[in-house]
């Protein structure tokens, strides 16, 4: 009997030891920390990175832009307008409560009250609870992007967030830049829970012992996130071994991280397009498609991608990147100075004209330099550019006011889908529907709008892709805007951090699955 106890004690000890040997702390540095612990407060990269650590979505993107089940084990389309989700059983929240359909429904209602997120769920009519582990998502029209939207549903613990906090405010309150219970406390189902947080200084995470995904190879027990704003400092922290993992990596430091013995660079083509828009309302000449084409032909975006971006960008001929529904491989970047000059001559602008241009200088990678290069290239076809660059804080009000003849804008589709680009960037501006909200070029083609609108209720992926490709081709032929490039993504890590397996083009690494040797 005594011996039995000893063996048992030994086994427990051994189990404890092997667990101890596995426990790894990951020190990481992003350029910013999440603005709030409330996953619904701001729709931004930082919030989504945080949500994938602390909460967990119904479904999530895979590396090749497919879908994989998370809190929804499986799903099926019941009819034109309904997709049924079967929820995973036995999933626990950080508070110890079990997750059920009631929590998912509660989260859904809260999402619809979030100024940032509700636009994503505009096409939906309702979420219906069928039983404790089944919900139906019903759309107003037949809608192809139900799963895309489901990647934004990160169930929150409805019991944990109900009642009032010590100030007498409801714990469920969702308020932009407000000091709410949800902005200071969390209970999700994710692989990590927050143990301490000092905004702008550091966030501590600890692995959630009851995490449902026991298959996950992830072995990181603790994460310390330090925001390091300055690129060179972030890189220095990685090179000196003060942190294990950084993102983003400035293009100028890629070689250093690659050549350094202990570190590794992981890169990927990104999905954020950088473009220039030509305002047809401010400049008469821009109404002429030949002038717009001339501008596209005159700007050598391959050179910009290779010289200014140091090869860390993919030159673009269209809005959506490869892998998106509307991508058409035949729409390649155009650069032909001779043709550009000819087009200007045909349009009667051989002598050229003067325009103004504005671009931010701290929003996109090398934004001001790109604008300068583009302005120089335009001088070759006698378009004189008066360029003004400014910090993003000052730029956006100018952009809203359409304050220059040409303006720079970058865009990443929240739905990882081609239609989103047109809705915001190239559709006819419409204050009612919000379409064309970022179309500072005032380009307007009702045919394009119609196609995109119809694609929103086309659930046959092949037919839908054909429609969106038609949109891209029309925009290409009419030179609706100047496509520059898609920004690539880069992460830096110590060699023992197996980062490659968990990063993706959306730039929210699945750190729960991260293996550190």
């Amino acid at each position: 009997m005594k011996r039995g106890v000893a063996i048992l004690a030994g086994a427990v000890l051994a189990a404890g030891l092997s667990l101890g040997a596995q426990a790894k702390t990951l020190k990481m540095a992003y350029d910013a920390d999440p603005v709030s612990m409330d996953p619904h407060e701001q729709l931004s990269g930082g919030t989504l990175q945080y949500s994938h650590m602390v909460f967990d979505p119904l479904v999530r993107w895979t590396k090749d832009l497919g879908m994989e089940p998370r809190l929804a084990e499986k799903w099926e389309r019941i009819d034109d307008r309904t997709v049924r989700f079967f929820l995973r059983k036995g999933v626990k929240f950080h508070s110890g409560n079990s997750m059920t359909a009631a929590d998912v429904k509660w989260t859904w209602d809260r999402l619809l009250s979030s100024p940032d997120f509700k636009a994503i769920f505009g096409p939906f009519e309702a979420m219906n609870v069928i039983d404790d582990y089944t919900v139906d998502l019903v759309t107003k029209e037949p809608f192809p992007l139900v799963l895309n939207a489901a990647t934004y549903i990160f169930p929150m613990d409805s019991k944990f967030y109900s009642g009032n906090d010590e100030k007498g405010e409801p714990k469920a309150t969702l308020k932009k830049h407000g000091d709410t219970f949800a902005s200071r406390n969390e209970s999700g189902t994710g692989p990590f829970k927050v143990t301490a947080r000092q905004q702008g200084v550091r966030v501590d995470f600890e692995r959630f012992a009851d995490y449902w995904d026991k298959q996950s190879p992830g072995n990181v027990s603790n994460i310390v996130l330090t925001p390091i704003k300055e690129g060179p400092t972030r890189v220095a922290a990685l090179l000196s071994g003060d942190v294990d993992f950084i993102a983003p990596v400035p293009p100028t430091d890629h070689d250093r991280i690659k050549q350094n013995e202990g570190t590794e660079l992981v890169t990927m083509p990104g999905t954020r397009i950088i473009t220039l828009q030509m305002n047809q309302e401010r400049v008469e000449a821009f109404k002429d498609a030949r002038v717009r084409q001339a501008i596209v032909y005159a700007i050598n975006n391959e050179a910009i991608a290779s010289k200014i971006m140091r090869g860390f960008a993919t030159p673009a001929g269209q809005q959506g990147p490869k892998g998106y529904a509307g991508y058409d491989a035949s729409l390649q970047p155009r650069y032909d100075l001779k043709k550009a000059k000819q087009l200007m001559k045909d349009a009667g602008y051989e002598k050229g004209f003067s325009i103004t241009m504005m671009a931010p200088n701290n929003r996109y990678v090398n934004d001001a330099k790109i604008a300068e290069a583009a302005a120089n290239m335009l001088s070759k076809i006698n378009i004189k550019v008066d360029l003004k660059t400014m910090p993003k804080a000052q730029y956006w009000p100018e952009f809203d006011a359409r304050a220059a003849d040409m303006m720079m804008i970058g865009w990443h589709s929240d739905t990882e889908d081609s239609a989103n680009f047109t809705e915001f960037l190239t559709a006819c501006p419409n204050k009612e529907t919000g379409w064309g909200q970022y179309n500072s070029g005032n380009y307007c083609n009702p045919e394009v709008d119609k196609l995109v609108q119809d694609s929103a209720s086309e659930t046959d992926p092949a037919k839908r892709a054909a429609m969106l490709q038609q949109v891209e081709r029309t925009l290409y032929e009419e030179a609706a805007f100047v496509p520059l490039h898609w920004q690539n993504l880069a992460w830096g890590a110590r060699k023992n951090v197996k980062l490659e397996a968990v990063v993706n083009v959306m730039d929210f690494p699945y750190l729960g699955d991260l293996v550190v040797e």
Binding site: V35, F117, G200, T233, A236, S240, D242, K392, D400
Partner: protein, 326 residues
């Protein structure tokens, strides 16, 4: 003395009033705070509604009036980003910045006095030429470059010192956690303090040297030599004492400047102080925090200047504090 104090306080109040108006009136030119707070796909109508809720659409005088009446009760507004009263945010960040300034000041005092005095006494020695040469380099290299060079050398290449942050802290009082009491904390202080000191150190060496050279040529020093006093007594008791008056004045003013320079040092070293916080606030268009920072730093300037004037009077009683007719 009482009259002097009263006059200074009145001046200070006027200065603070002007600072508050200026800092408050630039906020319209900083950009739209909502752009930083909301996602990109939020509609214009919704933004307008939030602007209305936050009182950003009111006329300037209404906004300023609301601000000043609250400010007089010690409420400088609530930071959009930190979601806390702006003054609390700044006071929480203040210890980190003050420790940085203190560390840099210690380095400056320990080095500038001996180096300045030495180069005044031995103007032609090789060491003096080196000191002067270095001080020119020190003045002309921008502080963030010095900081990056130091990080590169000591953190990356030699791996001796940490590259960012404050390290291990010991909590002492209220929101004050100090890095001065742990080895790790001191190591973290070293590079940022040296960077910050590098801007002011050359200035002080040159100032002390110039004043010292002048003092060494005065009649009373010549008289002291003639009397046959010891050289150390002459250098340190007679000459140096008179050198320190202008140095204290400049030093006091420079403390304020140094607080301003922490913006650069802190952002390179990711130092969680109020300079770094300010830069971030500008990027985020966190207007309440920006305005509060300008007011707090303005207050630091005003207070240090007042104290300098008082100390000046203590060192040299012949200075006419009140500035009126005697």
């Amino acid at each position: 003395m009482a009259l002097f104090l009263f006059k200074r306080l009145l001046q200070a109040a006027v200065v603070m009033f002007v600072i508050s108006i200026i800092s408050f009136s630039i906020q319209d030119n900083l950009g739209d705070p909502l752009r930083e707070m909301l996602g990109q796909s939020v509609s214009e109508a919704e933004r307008h509604e939030m602007r209305e809720q936050m009182g950003l659409n009111d006329p300037f005088l209404v906004q300023y009036g609301r601000f000043i009446s609250k400010a007089l009760q010690g409420d400088l507004g609530t930071s959009y980003f930190f979601k806390e009263p702006a003054l609390d945010v700044i006071l929480n960040k203040l210890p980190a910045t003050l420790e940085l300034v203190l560390g840099a000041s210690i380095i400056i005092i320990l080095l500038s006095v001996p180096l300045g005095v030495y180069s005044a006494i031995k103007p032609h020695s090789v060491l003096t030429k080196m000191i002067m040469g270095f001080s020119i380099i020190g003045i002309s290299i921008p502080v963030f470059l010095t900081a990056i060079l130091l990080i590169y050398l000591f953190a990356i290449e030699l791996g001796m010192l940490p590259s960012y942050g404050r390290g291990e802290l010991v909590h002492i009082w209220g929101s004050w956690s100090t890095g001065f009491l742990t080895k790790d904390g001191l190591l973290h202080l070293l590079l940022p303090c040296v960077s910050l000191a590098s801007i002011m150190l050359p200035l002080f060496i040159r100032l002390i040297r110039a004043e010292m050279v002048e003092a060494l040529h005065t009649e009373y020093v010549k008289f002291a030599w003639a009397k046959g006093l010891g050289k150390y007594r002459i250098w340190f008791m007679h000459a140096l004492k008179n050198t320190m008056l202008p140095v204290v004045t400049v030093g006091g003013v420079q403390i304020g400047t140094m607080v301003a320079y922490t913006i650069l040092t802190e952002s390179v070293f990711q130092w969680p102080g109020m300079g770094f916080m300010f830069l971030e606030a500008v990027n985020r268009v966190d207007t309440p925090l920006i305005v509060a920072y300008l007011i707090v730093v303005g207050a630091i300037f005003v207070i240090t200047n007042t104290i300098v004037d008082l100390v000046y009077g203590l060192i040299d009683p012949t200075v006419n504090l009140v500035g009126g007719k005697k």
